[in-house]
């Protein structure tokens, strides 16, 4: 079972991984964007940890909605509202006690919220290209009765692979789309950070 503490730990771990990868994310964004993605997510997660410490939300859903709202309030850019919506929608949907199935369902709702807000679909070279595979992996794990730990591992792996699939793509959404064919050959920074989020969850669930 996944408790509120686990979700707090998720954001702590995500903050650490993003901090460690901040310059890489920013470099990815420099190649096909405006060189701020690492800073944006790092700033956002720092604020999320502060907010979680202050407001001490009690349920997993509350942790997620708090995190989502904070990202919306503090990040700006494209990724702020998108990640904010992901977590807020997830939090709104997620009922306690949290099971893998409920988590997978809430995650899917979150991803749909991102798609709806950003109007991006698979293959547009955005964070969606990492999030959708992660969501599918979770759904399959539920269907197959896999345990939480392995399910989250599979989701993390799917997200990482999804991020890599953005490399040969030409961007059709976000700032990278302005580059036309020149966006080909670079990993999408938002997909890369989405993979970090999923890796962080897998790491704390062990």
């Amino acid at each position: 079972m996944m408790e509120a503490e686990l979700f707090v730990a998720w954001f702590e771990e995500a903050a650490r991984q993003v901090r460690d990868n901040r310059d890489r994310l920013t470099r990815l964004d420099a190649a096909i964007g405006d060189a701020d993605h690492g800073t944006n997510i790092d700033r956002g997660l720092t604020e999320v940890l502060k907010e979680l410490a202050e407001s001490a939300p009690r349920s997993p859903g509350e942790v997620l909605t708090t995190a989502g709202a904070t990202l919306i309030r503090r990040v700006g850019g494209a990724s702020g509202p998108l990640y904010g919506s992901l977590f807020r929608q997830m939090g709104k949907t997620l009922e306690s006690p949290v099971t893998l199935a409920r988590f997978a369902g809430a995650f899917e709702e979150g991803v749909v919220a991102v798609e709806r807000l950003g109007k991006a679909t698979m293959g547009d070279k955005t964070m969606v290209d990492a999030l959708i595979p992660a969501s599918r992996a979770l759904a399959l794990a539920v269907r197959d009765g896999v345990d939480v730990r392995r399910a989250l591992d599979q989701a993390a792996r799917a997200a990482a692979e999804g991020a890599k699939t953005t490399i040969p793509l030409q961007a059709r959404k976000g700032r990278a789309s302005y580059l036309g064919e020149r966006s080909i050959g670079h990993e999408d920074p938002g997909a890369a950070s989405a993979a970090l989020f999923m890796a962080a969850l897998a790491a704390v669930a062990t």
Partner: protein
């Protein structure tokens, strides 16, 4: 990287403190820059915003005849909905508020969220998307908003000052955008304080064509040529999309690091191009207005004027970045 900053984290805050100290006509609170005198009852409020690093856009255009408030985000990062909500409430004089939004995913999403969340204020939005370097197709996020933002803010601002209702101010703002086109060329990249190194490396021999205003690489990299040829590239791109005829408002805009002398060299070529097409430069602006930190290069923005737009362009304006008539 050498920058006149205290820390990369505090640069926006520190710059806003400087703006507040330099311009008694402005009031800065919670990352929103307002006119010091507050909203005027019955006047439509104009709110814009976007990433910092484009100064004087947007905060430098707050004042009589232009914006009522600007929401500066972090460097090259759209502001957050909270700022926009605060600004919207803070400038409402009862006649509603127009959001002037440059077409970037981040700006659009944050302004949309704010517009949804703000209560008790009628909000309309105009999307600025003048950059012909980007194709407006299903395969892109649509044209970027660049230099025309200044035109929209100026002309809609003048109309709002006349007491026009929200729907009309919004319609004219959209019309200005429709009549405007831009194209930008970079000779060098810029360096954001947080990244600490240039966003892209450009060899001594090359330029980037079709850049935006966030230090993004452009559509193509080509060998450096003369000012005449570069102006020709920009003007052909614009003319190919919106044929140049009649009276034009033409801005040759530095990206922040271009000597004014060179902008005048470019302007001479742009003016000659316009003349060659049988059109007329009726109003003009040469200088650093919509910048990308210390980037070198230029953008040209052209707006097809009519009598009404000319009148709103000529109307008095009193802001730190643009001032005439008072």
């Amino acid at each position: 990287m050498k920058k006149l900053i205290n820390t990369a984290d505090s640069v926006v805050e520190d710059a806003l403190n400087g703006m507040a100290a330099a311009h008694p006509s402005l009031r800065v609170r919670d990352r929103v820059v307002y006119r010091a005198e507050g909203p005027r009852p019955g006047k439509v409020g104009l709110v814009s915003g976007g990433g910092s690093g484009h100064e004087p856009l947007h905060a430098g255009f707050v004042g009589h005849g232009m914006l009522d408030a600007a929401c500066p985000g972090e460097v090259f990062t759209s502001p957050v909905p909270d700022q926009i909500i605060e600004a919207t409430k803070g400038v409402d004089g009862g006649a509603g508020v127009l959001h002037i939004v440059k077409n970037y995913t981040g700006d659009v999403l944050n302004f949309e969220m704010a517009a949804e969340l703000v209560e008790g204020v009628e909000v309309a939005s105009v999307l600025v998307d003048d950059d012909v370097a980007v194709q407006d197709s299903l395969y892109t996020a649509g044209r970027r908003g660049t230099g025309a933002t200044l035109f929209v803010e100026k002309m809609a601002g003048a109309l709002a000052e006349e007491g026009a209702p929200l729907a009309r101010v919004a319609a004219v703002a959209a019309e200005v955008d429709e009549r405007s086109r831009s194209f930008g060329i970079a000779l060098s990249s810029c360096t954001t304080p947080a990244a600490g190194k240039p966003t892209f490396d450009l060899p001594e021999t090359d330029v980037e064509l079709g850049i935006g205003i966030h230090g993004e690489p452009g559509r193509a990299r080509v060998p450096m040529v003369s000012a005449r040829e570069l102006a020709g590239v920009a003007m052909e791109a614009i003319h190919g999309d919106l044929p140049l005829t009649g009276d034009l408002l033409v801005m040759v805009n530095g990206m922040g690091g271009t000597p004014l002398m060179e902008l005048y060299v470019v302007f001479a070529e742009v003016a000659a191009f316009v003349k060659g097409k049988g059109a007329r430069v009726s109003r003009s602006l040469v200088g650093n207005y919509v910048t990308s930190l210390e980037m070198q290069g230029f953008s040209v923005t052209v707006c097809r004027l009519d009598d009404a737009l000319t009148r709103w362009w000529d109307a008095p304006v009193e802001t730190p970045g643009l001032r005439w008539g008072r």
